[in-house]
């Protein structure tokens, strides 16, 4: 394959990967924006998203003959349900673990977050074991039907990659509408900027914070579903690495900044794809986390963050 085609091929892979990172990064950044907490359990909620999807799919009699619009209908339902369930988990985590620590010294919620992460990982381990779990790749053509590849100017585009990109962009558009065009979104941004002043507007900040956890976790749930479709497999520790990379993306974009999380997600995805192409698969984590360290040292506010990082 010519050099340039290979480059574009990896660019597309990177964008697909980046879409998933962006969806996860949004949860980190929104939660940080509103309660200044790095929710280390967030990556595991992403894994839960693929686990929930699996369990829902198990209830649906999918066969190799299910096709066409039925597949898309099933996919939509699974996405919505998985997002909803993850959202509920996110709310429960906030309610049970973080809320009472809201005014505690910073280390306490941080350690709690790591604890919640371990609990989720162990629960998933009990749930589906310690080996990789196959995920039914029923999109786009039906169960067991191989993925279509479009060839555009010599570059092959897998339909699955396209689905990942389209779904993640749709979810991000919906989030933008919600955050920047609705009353709840305005309340979230106000609470992130000044909690007391927000209360003086009549905003119930507990409710607003709960909604923020819900939305962030729901987006991770969407990412969990599409990662299952994309990779055809899932694993109880998937969220550990993916979470750290998405966290890097959030920091790269400017933690607390929604647009920054999306930008950072795509950048990290592309960097990872390029690293695996031009350096080595084994070096991707090293490169990504080196980026994290470099930002933290040289530009802690990230690409789009102001000196005082822009919140939600």
């Amino acid at each position: 394959m010519p050099e340039i085609h290979q480059f574009f091929q990896q660019l597309i892979n990177g964008i697909a990967l980046g879409g998933m990172y962006a969806l996860i990064a949004l949860g980190y950044t929104m939660v940080y924006g509103i309660v200044e907490l790095i929710n280390f359990a967030h990556g595991d909620v992403y894994t839960l998203g693929s686990y929930f999807s699996l369990s829902i799919l198990a209830l649906i009699p999918l066969s190799r003959y299910t096709g066409g619009w039925q597949l898309w209908l099933i996919a939509s339902c699974v996405i919505v349900l998985a997002a909803l369930l993850c959202g509920i988990v996110g709310v429960l985590i906030e309610r049970l673990a973080y809320r009472r620590l809201r005014n505690a010294p910073r280390l306490a919620p941080l350690i709690t977050a790591i604890g919640v992460s371990l609990i989720l990982e162990n629960l998933m381990q009990i749930w589906k074991g310690t080996s990789e779990v196959p995920f039914p790749q029923f999109l786009p053509g039906g169960l067991g039907v191989p993925d279509n590849v479009f060839v555009v100017a010599g570059v092959g585009i897998h339909e699955r990659a396209l689905i990942v990109v389209v779904v993640s962009i749709l979810a991000m558009l919906a989030l933008n509408l919600l955050v920047f065009r609705t009353k709840l979104g305005t309340a979230m941004r106000a609470t992130a900027q000044d909690r007391d002043a927000a209360q003086l507007m009549g905003i119930n900040i507990n409710g607003t914070i709960a909604w923020t956890f819900f939305i962030g976790a729901a987006l991770a749930g969407v990412a969990g579903f599409i990662s299952g479709i994309y990779y055809g497999t899932t694993f109880f520790l998937n969220g550990y690495q993916a979470g750290l990379k998405a966290f890097t993306a959030a920091v790269l974009g400017g933690i607390g900044n929604i647009t920054g999380a999306m930008l950072g997600g795509f950048l990290i995805g592309i960097v990872e794809a390029m690293t695996s192409q031009y350096i080595s698969d084994q070096w991707t984590s090293v490169v990504v986390f080196s980026i994290l360290i470099l930002i933290l040292v040289f530009r802690p506010s990230g690409l789009l963050g102001e000196q005082v990082p822009e919140k939600v």
Binding site: Q193, L200, G202, I205
Partner: protein, 238 residues
């Protein structure tokens, strides 16, 4: 004075172990402006934070229209009609002026919001020219207008103002005091905290003097303006 609209009695409040309010009592009656004056650190802001439910009183009662509001959440108290424009303006710097004003009416569902919006813009025409701008880009005076405008958007039954003229130019101070008088004429009782004790007592019907968390003097504003101790301590005269 008829039955008070807002009434505090024996209120004590703490920051951790530091007692900031020591048995504070005050009333705000129908349609009146009440000035609360006192030195820095006397507890004026704490009084307003306690009324608004941002700080829970350890003891004492706070009643609105005779009903206790102690223990209610801050957002519930706003819904009851007690609206505060806090010290330091506390506008949302990264929201637009329009979004800030809309948030003022966050708790409302009635149909008079549009009318109040027009009224705020006619009181502060400058805000109307800057609706699309981020709050943080406004000048100090404009931010104060926004903070008061935002509070008016809530349709207050009682308005609490914490140092609305702090740091403003003399012309802007006059603008703000004119608006305070104007809002009050429309029937809204106001509890006013001011650095500028003279101006506050001139616009108020009654006043309270706060020292280290307790009221040491109260009475008609004119009496306080003529009081020797008050003149020495708060009006800068010998």
């Amino acid at each position: 004075m008829s039955a008070p609209i807002l009434s505090l009695s024996g209120v004590e409040a703490y920051y951790g172990r530091i007692q900031a309010l020591r048995g504070l009592s005050l009333d705000v009656g129908e349609g009146e402006i009440v000035a609360l004056i006192g030195a820095n650190g006397a507890g004026k802001t704490t009084t307003l934070r306690t009324i608004s439910g941002l700080l829970a009183p350890a003891r004492g009662s706070i009643n609105l229209f005779g009903e206790s509001i102690v223990g209610m959440r801050a957002d519930q108290i706003v819904r009851k009609g007690i609206v505060q424009s806090p010290e330091g303006r506390r506008i949302f710097p990264r929201l637009t002026v329009l979004e800030n004003l809309r948030l003022g009416a966050y708790a409302r569902t009635d149909r008079a919001i549009a009318g109040d919006f027009d009224r705020v813009l006619s009181l502060f025409p400058r805000l109307g020219e800057r609706l699309k701008q981020k709050g943080g880009t406004l000048s100090g005076g404009e931010q104060q207008m926004l903070a008061i405008g935002r509070a008016l958007m809530a349709g207050p039954k009682v308005l609490l103002l914490d140092e609305p003229s702090l740091g403003l130019s003399p012309i802007l101070v006059d603008t703000i005091f004119n608006v305070i008088a104007d809002v009050n004429r429309s029937g809204v009782p106001i509890l006013l905290i001011e650095q500028n004790a003279r101006k506050a007592l001139q616009v108020a019907a009654r006043g309270y003097v706060l020292e280290t968390g307790t009221i040491v003097k109260s009475g008609p504003a004119a009496t306080l303006l003529a009081d020797d101790d008050v003149r020495k301590a708060y009006l800068g005269e010998d």
